[in-house]
Homo-oligomer: 264 residues x 4
């Protein structure tokens, strides 16, 4: 058993193995892309099904090798990316049937996401992006309250005037998302409503002013903090380099004073 | 009396109390959301009215408890968030009648805003956002002058060509707000006018160039300053940590020199 | 003569005088705004003409007082804002006639800009904004070359397909400005052209990618530099405060060493 | 031969020579611009062809002079901007024929790009922009995966509902680029699809949320890093200036201690 584990570890850590899997993920992506062209798909349907089955089994073997290579199942699944890989591959087996349904196809395209878990630099970047989510918690809650209040007010006021935009609370929330991206907020949404209710401009103008300000704050806050942390981690500032020199010189001075005291 | 105050203070500071109120505010938000679906509302109209009345009275009791818990009425109302809570709840009693009018409904949705005054992290964030308003004063004034001048020029020039956009000064200002958000400024606003007055492009191009530059300056200035202050407050920079070490070492050196002098 | 100059200086520097002029500029702005409403204007035409004449003469007297107050005419006109004020007011006299033409009206609305030259905080901010223009020189030149090349290519390729957007070089440049603001670039401009020339997407996609990147660079570069300079000027960083303390301590140490040497 | 090289070097480095070439590039740009006006072009066709030929030959001589001035051909072509100049001018000779085809015209407009290689400040700025491309590698790969997955899903889901937007994988990718620039994403793309498939909103909302966040991260990260580096390179921070003073004072103190030791 220990023998098998050692061999699996050797294989799993070998650069050829990783590159081979990256290559297969790329091939898988190309196949999935080709399938979307219905002409190509209907001509070579059997080839596509066969290729998909082969790739799925190779990925299964890959996961198994990496599983055996790790100390225990719990240590394997502790790493979220391993769990992610496992779910992606396992779902391929679960949903497989004689026919390709839409849900299955979409699931299969997610296999391309495995490129993130395999290429270290991508993994690091996505981890960094995911780590910003908790710090966005409070501002997201604030945005949620803000959207909800404007959604209820919008539905109450414009339900009968513009049912396609503010007919129900959920369609209002979608419309507000459109408005906050500034897409056709005036030409498409506000001006037709303004023609019926000439005082409705305050609703849109205040929503955009507050919304863009809060979102901009959120984005800039999170991103600038990210960037500065990344910069500081990569290369220390020239100020810090000089400060270290100052500290070294202070140590020398202390040493000199000590010596002058002992000399006496 | 002192007894009552003590008890109120105990209740008001108890985490269960706060969580209970947060839960009720959430419930209130859900109820208000459900009311916007006219089918649901007409079927359970009496239930909605009853739930609203009960919640309003619980909130009233909550405010009264927090009022009694504070040293005096003036100290209670000194805190702007308390005044905000009081107005929100009091207005619920003032406007209550046998029927639900639109104004009342909108007032009731503002009760959801009480979540901000109750959840400390939200309160802190909104305070921070509100504190940036004074520093925006000068740039807001500049933007105001800029919008006003372009508004008057636009109305004078395009009043007869595009009455739906530049018919009156206030509709011009709304159109300029639309233009500065870059929404349909060319396809919707400028091109039809350009067909009549081929030299009018300078009006829109200069307005967008100046407007986006000044607004971008405003946003970035306020937000970057905010973010940097927040970062500095949370964790001191590594430079500052090292500087403190330098200062400590300097103190040691001074001590050593003093000792060497007294030793003599 | 010296007497007159002293008196003028006293008047010109008096806060009441400045506030009075600010008030009149505000009044002038309101009057110009009201004039855009043709109903109001035709009813009170004579009043408007009279008010405008009176304000113009008061402003003339104000400029004259400030002129007399300054040491010499050259020192008065050295300050660009004084020259600006002078031109704005003088042009009012030049163009005045029996009837109000469009050009004159637009010139008169520029008098509102005098608020900038009179309110010190606005003046400081506009000066800061204007000072960023030279540093934008190179990037503006780069943008110019970039627009010109895409303008010529666009005109050559799409002249016959979309004459309303790319008929002539100058209309192409205007269309490219619209595209770089991302306004209807796809729905309005690209998709109709794409229907005729299916390979034209590269023109728009590369233009947007390069254009937004360069402009974003320009904006962020100028604005971030501005903001950081402003922040550093207003309050020195905590690091600098600590460094000064370190410098003071070093001086003390030097003093102590000197004393210990002389004591010997 | 050495004589010729020396003379070429003298000419190539002379400011008049550079200014003369900049002037000709400008003239070339104006001529190319004028040619797009078909009325002007057909009247003076022969003049345009002649001017173009003359300019092309002057540029050829210029490149040859600069070639002779450099130590060797390999050292000349090592500098990428020289290679760029050479290709631009050489292609003019290759494609020249009796008639002006579209491809040739576009190639000729690229000669305006030579202004970048000749004006030093532009060259420096473009070099800086190009140097950011490698650091964008990982995030570009991430964006690519993200676009590809959404492209495949979009094509699978909406192929039959909206063939003009999601008919094939490549048109889906173009549509997604349009959506991420927020151009008509709701009014043009989503709402017609939503009318057929009411659950499709998640596709667009998640795509916009993730896409704008990642792109914003990319832009801000690259640009802020750029700007900070540029600022630090141009003028050292006041902190660093003070630190140098501290270091000098430390050296003095060390000197003083040494002297006090030798004095004993």
């Amino acid at each position: 058993m220990q023998e098998v584990r050692k061999k699996c570890l050797l294989i799993a850590n070998h650069p050829y193995f990783t590159n081979f899997i990256i290559g297969l993920i790329l091939l898988n992506a190309v196949i999935i892309g080709l399938e979307t062209y219905s002409g190509v798909y209907s001509s070579y349907k059997n080839w596509f099904i066969a290729a998909d089955q082969i790739l799925l089994w190779i990925f299964t073997v890959e996961i198994l090798i990496r599983m055996f290579a790790s100390r225990s199942l719990t240590s394997f699944f502790k790493e979220p990316w391993n769990l992610f890989d496992f779910i992606i591959v396992a779902s391929g087996h679960l949903f497989i049937g004689g026919h390709y349904v839409t849900v299955l196809r979409i699931l299969r395209v997610l296999r391309v996401l495995r490129a993130i878990s395999i290429i270290p630099s991508l993994r690091k970047m996505v981890n960094a992006l995911l780590m910003t989510i908790p710090s966005m918690g409070t501002i997201m809650l604030l945005l949620g309250i803000f959207f909800y209040i404007y959604g209820v007010i919008g539905t109450t006021l414009f339900k009968s005037i513009a049912p396609e935009y503010f007919g129900t609370l959920h369609s209002s929330l979608l419309t507000l998302f459109q408005v906050v991206t500034l897409e056709s907020w005036a030409s498409g949404v506000m001006r037709p409503i303004l023609a019926e209710d000439p005082t409705s401009w305050w609703f849109f103008v205040t929503f955009i002013l507050i919304g863009t300000f809060v979102i901009f704050n959120l984005f800039v806050g999170v991103v600038v903090t990210n960037v500065e942390e990344a910069n500081q981690a990569e290369n220390p500032s020239p100020t810090d380099v000089k400060l270290r020199e100052v500290q070294n010189e202070l140590k020398e001075i202390k040493q000199m004073i000590k010596e002058s005291q002992t000399n006496k």
